[in-house]
């Protein structure tokens, strides 16, 4: 056995899979959990106390839409009482001004409002709901409350050219942070990837734009940019390394090392109803499976970067290479990188003339950008 693992720093709590939105890139699994299976207020409270005792500093409330839980105020109070910093990742629906006031009173530290775009039409198309106008109202209400505000824009081919408008929205709000995170290709987003992945020209332009914005707004708004890793040279250190920093609890109490871990065949997950959080973190098969370096193959095994990116993402290795222990195929050193290059070539070569026009601004976009996609919308669980 190796030495005991470091303690987790954040607990990602998927409070429910229910959601008023139907986003085509939702990070929830294709198989959604029903309301009747969700953990109770008391069970979540115990999880928060166990998490704090284990060294966890922050709780990230996500879903689905956490605000669909009628006990959300009690859940926030319980997490604060356990000593955790409370983040809420929300669509802003269902919310009115008095409920927002109550969330802040209950001890909410950080309000993360998700946006599907800066333009109503695109945003509503992506979320399959008329939600954008309401989000703008929530942004106005937030100006009157002392809480950290982050705007989370999920970026993809059909809204990446709206970055200046998105940034203006952030600048006119009380946000101290804004995240522009390109869609990560798992679950619903993997199914819709061919309509979501931006072109290389779009990506280059977005990086230039945000680099300049980061300098201009330093000290005012912190800007984070997550690029689609298909275009990267090296993989992302997914979840900060498997079983190293983060622990995710699904609505029914299953403890997962990451959002997508369920796609890996043969994995089984322990549940917080039958075992303590510390035991699950330290001993469960799921958290041990890709912890450390024992599982690594070449080229990761002898690579200098293995302590920085931990071999990349296990779920992506499975989805693209068919082997969860393979080097993440987005890595330029991975034997399976040609598969990613083929995906990029299919998009960029077919699109090269148009992509050039887009890069130089204003001109009509290419066929690939104009084609109306056939989306696979995420449904709502019972």
């Amino acid at each position: 056995m190796t030495e005991p693992p470091s303690n987790p720093l954040a607990l990602i709590a998927e409070l429910t899979h229910r959601c008023p939105l139907h986003c085509v890139y939702c990070s929830n699994p294709l198989e959604l959990q029903a309301r009747s299976a969700e953990l109770s207020t008391e069970e979540w409270s115990r999880v928060f106390r166990e998490a704090a005792a284990l060294g966890v500093l922050q709780a990230d409330f996500t879903g689905g839409e956490p605000l669909t839980r009628p006990d959300i105020l009690e859940i926030i109070r319980a997490a604060r009482a356990a000593g955790l910093y409370v983040n809420l990742i929300t669509s802003g629906l269902p919310l009115d001004e008095s409920r927002l006031e109550a969330l802040v009173q209950a001890g909410l530290d950080h309000f993360q409002l998700s946006f599907q775009g800066a333009q109503e039409e695109t945003a509503n198309e992506i979320s399959g709901t008329k939600a954008h106008a309401h989000k703008l109202r929530v942004l106005e209400w937030l100006k009157h409350h002392r809480v950290a505000v982050t705007l989370n824009f999920v970026i993809h081919r059909r809204n990446i050219d709206q970055l200046p408008e998105m940034l203006s929205l952030a600048e006119s709000s009380s946000a101290t942070r804004v995240e522009f995170a390109n869609v990560q290709y798992y679950g619903w987003a993997f199914a819709n990837r061919d309509s979501l992945l931006p072109t290389r020209a779009q990506l280059t332009q977005s990086i230039d734009f945000l680099k300049e914005a980061q300098e201009r707004l330093s000290g005012k708004i912190k800007i984070e940019y997550v690029v689609p890793d298909y275009y990267a040279k090296y993989p992302k250190p997914c979840m900060g390394g498997w079983g190293r920093k983060l622990m995710l609890i699904t609505p029914n109490g299953d403890a997962l090392p990451c959002h997508a871990a369920r796609v890996i065949p043969g994995m089984s997950f322990e549940n917080v109803k039958s075992r303590g959080l510390r035991e699950i973190w330290e001993d469960s098969d799921a958290f041990q499976k890709f912890r450390g370096e024992v599982w690594m193959q070449e080229p990761c095994k002898t690579c200098d970067r293995r302590t920085q990116d931990f071999g990349g993402c296990r779920c992506q290795a499975f989805l693209l290479a068919g082997d969860p222990a393979a080097t993440d195929p987005v890595c330029s050193l991975a034997p399976q990188r040609p598969r990613v290059d083929a995906i990029l070539a299919a998009l960029n070569d077919a699109n090269s003339a148009g992509a050039g026009l887009v890069h130089h601004g204003g001109d009509p976009p290419s066929d690939v950008l104009l084609t109306k996609p056939t989306w696979l919308y995420r449904p709502n669980p019972s």
Partner: protein
């Protein structure tokens, strides 16, 4: 952005002190900083009342064995780090 000696730093909304395993930490969106003696002394004075100059003077007294210019440099460096993390609001000079 440079730091004005007459401005009054204050923890931004959603940035607060917390405790974890008998250690003081500064909690903020997506981050937590462990605080040791001097960094805790600085953060505790980011209350919107102390000016940057007052924080420097008080810590120079508190750490009187250290070179005063070094103390000043360290404080300005730490405040710049917090500013970059967007963990501070600065009440303007004269407010």
């Amino acid at each position: 952005m440079s730091i004005e000696l007459n401005s009054r730093p204050r923890l931004a909304p959603g940035v607060r002190l917390g405790d974890n395993n008998q250690q003081r930490v500064l909690l903020m969106p997506e981050r937590a900083l462990r605080l040791n003696g001097p960094s805790l002394e600085i953060v505790e004075r980011c209350d919107g009342r102390h000016t940057v100059q007052q924080i420097i003077s008080e810590l120079q007294q508190l750490y009187s064995k250290a070179e005063p210019s070094k103390v000043e440099q360290d404080i300005l460096g730490y405040l710049a780090l917090l500013q970059k993390e967007r963990a501070l609001d600065f009440e303007p000079v004269g407010a």
